[in-house]
Amino acid sequence: MAEPSIASTFTLGNGMQVVVIPDHRAPVVTHMVWYKNGSADDPEGKSGIAHFLEHLMFKGTGKHPKGEFSNLISELGGQENAFTSYDYTAYFQKIAREHLGTMMAYEADRMTNLVLADEDVIPERDVVLEERRMRTDSDPSSQLSESLGATLYVNHPYGQPIIGWQHEIASLDRKDALKYYKRFYTPENAILVVAGDVTEPEIRDLAAKTYGEAPALGAAPRRTRKAEPPIPAARRVELSDPKVEQPSFQRYWLVPSHIGATDNEPYALEVLAQALGGGASSRLFRALVQEQALATNAGAWYMGDAVDLTRFAVYALPREGVELKTIEKAIEAVIARLPEELTERELARAKTQLVADAIYARDSQATLARMYGAALAIGGKVADVENWPARIDAVTLAEVAAAARKRLQPRIAVTGYLLKEEAA
C-alpha cells in the first residue's frame, strides 16, 4: 500500500541534512539532532565515550553556561532528552511550536561551542557509572545480554556495550571527551529532524539562521570499524547467579542489516522475525507457550536498522521445572520446520502487522521523527522509510523460507543460558 510522502528533505550549505515532517494536529514540535556516530565508533580502549559525551553535552557553552538551556526548555514548558545507540547519538526537545527557533539556536550553539570543566566532567562520570550499575551490574539478565553481544562479535565494536565497559568508563576524562567531540560534532555529520506543526519553508529559514552558521569542516568524519569475519562455530555463554529465580534462553545470529544488503533479505528478515516470534500468534509463542506449555513467553526480534552486520535473536522463558535444553530443542524444531510449513495466511498476518505499525507510527510525531532520524543516521534515505511498507508487502514466502534456512542455523549460533546458581 502506498502512503503519500509525508517528509521532505534538503541539505544546508555546510553539509547538514534536514528532514521536515509536518503534523498539524497540535501546535507542538519535536526537534531532534542526530549525529552519525554511536558506541561502535568509540576509539579503542575508550568504550563508552559516545554515551559519556551525550551526558556532557548538557554542560553548557561559552554563550550559554551550564543549566541555561535545560532551565529555558523547562520554563518554556518543553521536554528534552538524548540517547546513544550503536550507530548514532541524538538530542531532542518537544515544545510549543513558537519556541522552535530558540531550540534550534541553542542546539546549533552546542554543536560547536561546548565547554567542559573537570568539576562537571568528574561527577558526570560517576553518574554514568551509577547508570551502568543500575542497568547492567545489578541485573544478571542484562549481564548475560552484554556477554552474548561480546561473544557474537569477535572483531566488530558492536560487541562492546553502548554504555561502555566499567573500567574504561572510569578512565575517560575531559581531554578524551573534547577530542571525540571535535571529531564528530560537525554539521556534515549531523541530521536535523523537525516533526510537528511546521512547514518546510519555515524550517529552511530557521535552519539557515542557526545550524547554517556552523562552520563546515570540509568532510564528514569517517566511521572506521573493524569488520566482523564469518565465525564458523557455535558458541555458548552461561551465566549462573544465586539471584536468578527465573531462568531464560536466548540465541543470537549475525545477519545482514538494511544498510549492508543489496537484495530483499532484510525485509524478509523483518517478516521472518514477526512470523517466527512477533507476538501471541507467532510460531514460537504458539508452539512453546500455547501448544507444548514449555514456556511462559517466547519470541524473536531483528535489529534491521544498523550500519553493519546485525543481530537476529530468539528467546524464551521456561515454565517452572522445564530445562533450558528442552526449550532449546523445541525452538530448534520450530525454526527447522518453518521453511516448509509457513503458510500464506501466516505470511499475510505478519505483513499486515508490520505495515499497520507504520500507520500507527503516524499517530505520534515523536515516533515519526525517530523513524526518519534513525534511518538517515545509519545511511538510509527518506525514500527507504516511505517505501518500507511496500517493500514489506512484497516479501514472498520463498524469501522468508530462504532467509530462515540460510541465517538461523544452530551451527553458527551464539546461545545464552541464564541459570540459578545453587548453593554449594
Partner: protein
C-alpha cells in the same frame, strides 16, 4: 436519542473538541473526533483493581486482566489472538490498585472486528482451563523475575509496610500464594462483580463520528451487567513513618524508595502540591533533588519524587539508586532537601518557573491518540469535568507562593518518612 454536547468555546483547544456521547441505551463516552490518521483509540477504565482482591487471593484482578484475550465467545485463545493479529488490532488489558483498564487501537477499516473482539473479551471471556494455567505460569514467572530485582523489592517492601492490613499493601501482580490459589471459578465470579457499566469510563479518539460511536456503544457494552458489586475500600494513610527497612540483596548498588502521606486528587491542595513537588523532585533536570543528588554529587543516574493519588489514600513517593558505599550520603541529601522544602517552601522564582513548565508542557501530553484518550479517561475517573482541559492551566496559574508553602508544610513533615532500601547499603 443521541445527545451531543460540546464543552468550552475556544476555537483550537483540545477541550473544546471533547464531545460527550450518550448512546440510546445510556452508555456515556467522551470523544475527540480526529480524522488526520486512519485509526481509532479507545481507553476504558473499570473501577476496582487490586484493591478488590479477596483475602488469600491477592493478584486476582491482575490475573483477570490477563484472561480477557485468552479466549472469548466462540474463539479460543489461539483463534482470538489470530483474529486480532490478522487485522493488526491492538487490544491490551491492564490494572492498577484502583482499576482494570482496557486499551484498544485499530485501523479505521477494521473497526467492526476490533469492536467485536473487545465486546467478547469484556462480556464473554471463557476462562478455559489451559488458558488459566498458562496465564498463571506467566504471572508466577513475573513474580519470580521480580524476586531479586531491587526496584520490585524496594517498592514492594514500601507498600507492604505503608499499607499493612490494607488492600493497597500487596503488589499488583499479587503474592505467589494468592496467585497459586486462584481458580477459574474465582475468575468468573470476580469478572461478574467488576466488569459492569456502573463503574466504567470510556474515552475514544480518532476517525469516528459521534453518531456512529453512540450506536456502537450499546453493541459494545450493552451486554455487561448494569451494576458492579465493589467491596468498599477503607480510607488509609501510609504507616511506618520514621522507619527504615533494608532488603539484603547482593548487588553493587542500593535502590532506595522513600515516601509519606500525600494528598487525594480532590484535595484542594493537590495542584499546589503538584507544583511544589515539581520544584522538589518532579521529573525534570531542574528539580532541587536532581540538582543536589545527580548534578552536584554524581550520586545517581535517576532520582525523583511524585504524588500518587490513589482513590483511598494519597502518597508522596520517590526513589533513586546509588552505589552501596554512598547510600547513606544520598539519603541524607534527599532528607535535607525534603526538610528544607517543608520548612521554607519554594522561592518566588522557582514557583514562577515551575508553573510555566507545568502550564506550557500540558499540550505535550496530547501527541498521540492513545495518550489523549487515556487522559480523557483519567479526567472522568477523577471527576474533573469535561471542561477540565480548558480550565486546567488557569488552576495552575492561580497557585500562589503561600499555596505552595502551605502544601509543603502539610506534606513534608520533618523526620516523617518511610524508607526502604534493596542492596547492601552503607552509612544509613
Amino acid at each position: 436519542m443521541i445527545t451531543l454536547r460540546t464543552a468550552g468555546q475556544q476555537q483550537a483547544s483540545t477541550g473544546s473538541r471533547i464531545q460527550r456521547v450518550i448512546s440510546p441505551g445510556g452508555v456515556e463516552a467522551w470523544l475527540i473526533e480526529e480524522k488526520a490518521v486512519p485509526l481509532i483509540a479507545m481507553e476504558l477504565s473499570f473501577e476496582g483493581g487490586a484493591a478488590q482482591d479477596p483475602a488469600g487471593k491477592s493478584g486476582l484482578s491482575h490475573f483477570l486482566s490477563g484472561m480477557f484475550d485468552e479466549g472469548a465467545g466462540p474463539y479460543d485463545a489461539i483463534a482470538f489472538q489470530e483474529a486480532a493479529d490478522e487485522q493488526a488490532i491492538v487490544l491490551r488489558f491492564s490494572q492498577s490498585r484502583d482499576a482494570i483498564t482496557a486499551s484498544l487501537k485499530t485501523l479505521t477499516r477494521h473497526r467492526g472486528k476490533a469492536f467485536e473482539l473487545l465486546r467478547l473479551a469484556l462480556a464473554e471471556p471463557r476462562f478455559d482451563a489451559d488458558a488459566v494455567e498458562r496465564v498463571r505460569a506467566q504471572i508466577m514467572g513475573g513474580i519470580k523475575r521480580g524476586a531479586n530485582d531491587p526496584n520490585t523489592q524496594s517498592g514492594k517492601a514500601w507498600f507492604a509496610r505503608a499499607f499493612e492490613n490494607h488492600p493497597y499493601a500487596n503488589p499488583e501482580p499479587g503474592l505467589a500464594e494468592g496467585v497459586g490459589a486462584v481458580t477459574a471459578d474465582d475468575l468468573r465470579a470476580f469478572h461478574g462483580r467488576l466488569i459492569a457499566r456502573s463503574n466504567l469510563k470510556i474515552s475514544v479518539v480518532g476517525a469516528i463520528d459521534a453518531a456512529t460511536l453512540a450506536a456502537e456503544l450499546d453493541q459494545l457494552f450493552g451486554q455487561l451487567p448494569a451494576s458492579a458489586a465493589l467491596t468498599p475500600v477503607p480510607a488509609a494513610a501510609p504507616l511506618g513513618m520514621g522507619e527504615l527497612q533494608v532488603i539484603d540483596l547482593d548487588i553493587p548498588q542500593s535502590t532506595l524508595r522513600f515516601g509519606m502521606p500525600g494528598l487525594l486528587r480532590k484535595d484542594e491542595d493537590f495542584i499546589p502540591a503538584s507544583v511544589m513537588n515539581h520544584i522538589l523532585g518532579g521529573g525534570s533536570f531542574t528539580s532541587r533533588i536532581w540538582q543536589e543528588v545527580r548534578e552536584k554529587r554524581g550520586l545517581a543516574y535517576s532520582v525523583n519524587s511524585g504524588l500518587y493519588p490513589f482513590r483511598r489514600a494519597g502518597v508522596f513517593y520517590g526513589g533513586t539508586a546509588t552505589k552501596n558505599e554512598r547510600a547513606g550520603e544520598a539519603l541524607t541529601v534527599i532528607r535535607g532537601e525534603i526538610a528544607r522544602m517543608g520548612s521554607d517552601g519554594p522561592t518566588e522564582e522557582e514557583l514562577d518557573k515551575a508553573k510555566r513548565y507545568l502550564i506550557g508542557s500540558y499540550a505535550l501530553r496530547f501527541d498521540t491518540s492513545t495518550k489523549i484518550a487515556s487522559h480523557l479517561t483519567s479526567m472522568q475517573v477523577d471527576d474533573l469535568g469535561i471542561d477540565y482541559t480548558d480550565k486546567r492551566n488557569s488552576l495552575f496559574e492561580a497557585v500562589t507562593l503561600e499555596d505552595a508553602r502551605r502544601a509543603a508544610r502539610r506534606l513534608l513533615l520533618p523526620g516523617q518518612m518511610l524508607v526502604t532500601v534493596a542492596g547492601k547499603p552503607q552509612g544509613l
